[in-house]
Symmetry: C2
Subunit: 167 residues, 2 copies
């Protein structure tokens, strides 16, 4: 396996992120050059994590500094929410859910399912994927601040991916 | 939906956790009474998160204090590993992978897939599931210290009648 993510997936996540922010937050996002691994300059205080299974297996992480997350949640729901409130995590989880759902719809006929989002809150935490997995970080800049969409997915063999026929 | 997790699932995770610890770490785990939500007394420094999709959708989180995680990893791989080393996250991720894989095999013929594990490291972070999801925390005590297996899953897509009957 190459250590670069298929550009089709990168484009799908960029387009889905742009679409979610334009539709739900009425703002544009500008994207930097995707880099392998994590963005070293970005403090990770809030992470919304969602798993993908099926023809494509892996993980998508929406990683945000606390200040950016607070502004995005306020813009998304229309009023400020305390970071310790359950509604805060729900809002961030819904964003990664919409981004991942939008991206997988662009995966060109592949059967992919997404799990429920988990939202991690804790100052300066890290989120690591298994060694050897291909992870790229897409730098995003919005009027609420910078964040990243970190994608670690791979296409799996048909024999592994195909589900047994329904009885 | 009830706010209690089907006991079949709880038993599956208890048995799978016991099996992984006995097989891979040569130690027994004792289990407390599963409680809704999180264990309030447990400091969460290391979380291994894995998603489930298919007939059952949700998330499994192995939550550990840093000291317990370090002892468990040392016992698992045979030598101490620094918490910042990639191998540390790989080891904790592999544990949640084995526990979740073992548990889903006990889900009584249901088709379930698990995603790749994500491992969060950060002192005193929280991991939240969507509001309204049913989450239970299984308290675990090992000779390496206490930890929890937090399960938030639900059966989807098929009529309730086909949900495995509680023993």
């Amino acid at each position: 396996m190459s250590n670069a993510l298929n550009p089709i997936y990168v484009t799908a996540f960029i387009e889905a992120t742009q679409n979610v922010f334009q539709t739900m937050l009425r703002q544009d996002v500008s994207f930097g050059k995707p880099v392998p691994g994590r963005l070293p300059h970005l403090q990770n205080d809030v992470s919304a994590i969602i798993g993908m299974t099926g023809d494509v297996v892996g993980t998508v992480v929406l990683s945000l500094p606390a200040a950016t997350a607070s502004k995005i949640v306020e813009c998304f729901v229309g009023s400020p929410i305390d970071i310790k409130n359950d509604d805060f995590a729900d809002a961030v989880g819904e964003l990664v859910n919409m981004i991942s759902g939008g991206a997988k719809a662009k995966f060109d006929g592949q059967q992919v399912r997404i799990s429920c989002p988990s939202v991690v809150i804790g100052q300066g935490h890290t989120v690591q994927q298994p060694s050897g997995s291909v992870c790229i970080s897409i730098p995003c800049e919005s009027s609420c601040g910078g964040f990243s969409v970190d994608v670690s997915i791979k296409k799996v063999g048909v024999s592994q991916a195909s589900e047994p026929a329904a009885a």
